[in-house]
Amino acid sequence: MNTSNQTLNDVLAPPKPSFGGVLKQRLFNTPLDAVITIVCAGLLFYLLYNVIDWAFLSSIWKAEDEPLCRDATGACWSVIDARHRIIMFGLFPFEEHWRSTVACVVMILTIVLSCVPWFWSAVRLGLLWILGFGTFYILMHGGIFGLTEITPERWGGLALTLFIFAAVSIIGMPLSVILALGRRSKLPVIAKMVGLFIDFFRSLPLLTILFTAAVITPFLLPGWLQGDKLYRVIVGFAIFFACYQAENIRAGLQAIPPGQDEAGLTLGLSYWQRVGRIQLPQAFRNSLPAIVNQFVITFKETSIVTIVGFFEILASGSAAFGTGQWTAHYIEVYVFIGLIYFIFVFSLSRYGAYLERKLRVGHG
């Protein structure tokens, strides 16, 4: 038994170095290394301690009134307790906040469900989003089923942020696929025109596009085509999003060897069959990191709509401390909003990482 173990050990790979060994080799190899390590570690602990002290040890969680916070050296979290309704709901009528809450849950559920592979067919995704958007719209807008009507100008907070993000994604993704395919068209006219379209919108700041959509298009479009300001802004945003995303997808398409399409051709597949079954699945896999990146950027960029007068969550937050007694506690409000952004964007990034692992099946 012992001897057989011995021989087995001989052919096994050498043991991995111990944790302590790695630490010593990496961080304390020379006296200078040791000094740098100790200084950096000291700095890190100092910063961490201060943050923890501010956020937890010296903070006040529950105060009846703002003045009680004035003597505290730490955070005054009671501002969140007192003003969270404005942060989360903006200008939405107080007694209807439940509608906005349910609408948020519906939207989050729709987004999460569309990340589940089972839903990945045009029919299922389509149904899911029609249902999701429909429920969201009925809850937010009202006007039927005995719900009072609330026009989009009064939507705000998290619900508005989620709505803009979801709507921009759902309009922008199909558009980006069409633009990417168009720019690779064999017909020079189409390729050139799509290329010009993409380069034109990419060259403009998002701010300009949103301003144009909100303020200038009403002068250019007939009344029945204008729609609400919110929808014009979303369409403008979606075009901007699609132009960037199209280039990501195009990069993924370029990376596919031409033999893939030729194999599809010789099997008798039509253009759309080759695009749908062979090119796009591979393009999405190729440029997944860049595609997720664009979603992350877009989620955070939704805050820019405040400039054309919408109270999405960041603007609602500013309103929460901007008036009355809580003016001094903007840091707490921003930390709170930052956390909300973090939860969404971090989940998105982790989902992207999961997708990359899942799609790498069979690719070593």
């Binding site: 030729e262 010789t266 099997l267 070593g364």
Partner: protein
Amino acid sequence: MADNKQSNTPAVSMSAVNKWFDDFHVLKDINLTVADGEKIVICGPSGSGKSTLIRCICKLEDHQRGSINVLGTELNDDIANIDEIRREVGMVFQQFNLFPHMTVLENCTLAQTLVRKKSRKEAEAIAMGFLEKVRIPEQANKYPGELSGGQQQRVAIARSLCMNPQILLFDEPTSALDPEMISEVLDVMVSLAEEGMTMVCVTHEMGFARRVADRVIFMDEGEIVEENDPMTFFDHPENERTKLFLGQILAH
């Protein structure tokens, strides 16, 4: 109806076909007829236009002059039903070109369900039949990236066969393979030939050519230089360029 056509018309007939890549005259006055059930091997130095020639047969390349008839239908820009001819002509590529995001089985069923409108169950049964024929049914649920080159090429052949093509084109099917994998692919091709499949193969596997070809065609600089039955072609080549080429590839 297709059977009727087969007995009367050749599988492929090319007459006075010319093709240019920009200024480069890649095919010069090609005349070639492939009878139903015939096996043809095309060889020649690289750049001689042999791959371009068979790519013209399934219209992966356009020709500029002359005419190409495949299964009784002329290939030109007017025909909207080019896909219909393509699905009767299978092609096996040097680089296999399997779809990497699909399993072996999905590779074989995709076109059956989309183009032939077969049910998934039926398509899978046909696919398994051909995977057994190329002797890798046990790999059906793996992805192409998990297979060796020889296995991938056999899957590619099975994928083509699933469409029940009337002509099978091979574009240097063994050139990208490690030497020990070449014979497993050639064995499959030989058994196909013995079953009477119409085949046009661009290959330098001269043993294969001797064994199965009805005719061997030698191309150089875009022309068909020599064309003969394998015995005569290898043992008594007529043209100087053929002799030089055969000397080079058979030297060792």
